[in-house]
Amino acid sequence: MSGIVDQVQRQKALKTDRMTINMGPQHPSTHGVLRLLVTTDGEIVDHVEPVIGYLHRCKEKIAENLPYYQFMPYTDRLDYLAGMNNNWAWAMAVEKLAGVKVPERAEYIRVMFGELNRIASHLVAVGTFGLDLGTFTPVLYCFHEREKILDLFEATCGARLTYNYYRIGGVAKDLPDGLVTKIREFLDPFEKRIDELNTLLSENHIFVRRTANVGVFPPALALDYGVTGPSLRASGVPHDLRRAAPYSIYDRFKFEVVVGRGEKGTVGDTWDRYDCRVREMSESVKIVRQCLDGLPDGEVRTKLPAVFKPPKGHVLFKAENPKGELGYYVVSDGSPKPSRVHIRGPSFCNLSIIPAVCRGVMLADLVAILGSIDIVLGEVDR
């Protein structure tokens, strides 16, 4: 037996190939119609290329053909888990462009509902993240809590998902009677439910081992790819527009900017991104409580002229959405319709980091990383 020749022969016979798989557009853990072209070496992911655009609905073109206030319902459908926040950013962008003042009470209501929607959005993110890792029950507990928030929204604006509640210069309607009590009734037991979630999922050692030290985003790389929101904060960058560039009345509230601490592994790993969302919910609860305490009386909407025409100019307005920084770049030519609207979707930018960090991870980690970024395809494709 000529050993070496034999070995070489065997090596040749065992030559392995890369395998290319389409993950999506129909796949349980791509959170919508996202397609990932994954090249794998066995279970190890070699290269990922996200293919997007399956949910492209020409939002930017639609905006050019509608008056400013009529684009509001369309913003609901961007990040459909956080319709309030999308509405809000659009309203503020146009208000900034046109210099519209918002009544005090409306500001409080806006902050309150924005934060409630943040909780709702994070609940979905956290729950479905558990689903991605193969546990079914937390997602239903999270949805239970979310339902309560949606009930509050429904009582206020009449819809559960596509709210169309914010208006340029205020909000559509004042709060219905008794809503303040209902919000308090929701908030009081909420922290206990978060504890329960922590025991059931966050602290579970299988879960921790699946997520800690997986898919670490170094802060510089994350920022380079425009990652914002909880995903950036988990990397240890305490950048929160509510604190860094307080819009609306966020400068009045006391809350903590939640930062990843690397408790279970490295700072900026998948567990941190998950944990940031969980802790952010508690911070949002604090803000809502302060809103309820300081809610003033008065008007909720500034009267605008029947044909609303902002002056010529352009502006990029960014707001801290649950997913990250949502930016509307609005160009006005002085007519009732915007001449150009560009939407900087946080999910779009957050998703673009996937090819850079998903090299050499396992297939199951890819699912975990994707879930931890918390993308909503409505916003990626717009």
């Binding site: 997007i52 655009g53 930017e60 920022l223 425009g226 150009r340």
Partner: protein
């Protein structure tokens, strides 16, 4: 904190030929930059230790009828405190019949997708982009939908779109 005006002046001193006027619109100020120089200017903006624009917020495109423009919103963020040190807006205009702008995809990773999006929807070609192809519409889509003179096609691959 450096004001946009000062940043513009520094850029002007560094690239006298490439940087144009400083436009002061009521809400937002921006600098005009020559399309071919965008890559150079941005690399400088990022590398310069004092400016260090490490965060490209977005690349928006605007149809200015005669020209197509790309608007870059930049921010410099302090990674320790999370504060935005300073922000800067610049615009590059390219002629409509041959819209070519230098790519910044090698400067910021986020530009890879954002430039693809601008290319897809507005039809501005970014020179030096590693993988410039359509991102939101289909690969064989004709035309660039966000241009003002875009006519929506009647059919697509035999599907009636009316």
């Amino acid at each position: 904190m450096v004001t946009p005006r000062e940043i513009h002046d520094r850029l002007k001193a560094q690239f006298p030929d490439d940087v144009g006027d400083f436009v002061e619109e009521p809400v937002e100020f921006f600098s005009e930059v020559k399309p071919a120089a965008v890559g150079r200017v941005c690399a400088f903006l990022k590398e310069d230790p004092e400016l260090s624009f490490n965060y490209l917020v977005s690349i928006s495109s605007v149809d200015l009828t005669a020209n197509l423009a790309a608007v870059y919103h930049l921010e410099s963020m302090d990674l320790e405190s999370g504060r935005t040190r300073h922000a800067f807006v610049m615009r590059a205009q390219a002629p409509r019949d041959n819209p070519v702008i230098a790519s910044v995809a090698t400067v910021w990773g986020t530009a890879i997708w954002q430039e693809r999006e601008v290319y897809d929807l507005m039809g501005i070609t970014f020179e030096g982009h590693p993988d410039l192809k359509r991102i939101l519409t289909d690969d064989d889509w004709v035309g660039h939908p966000l241009r003002k003179d875009y006519v929506f096609p009647k059919t697509y691959r035999g599907i009636d779109l009316e």
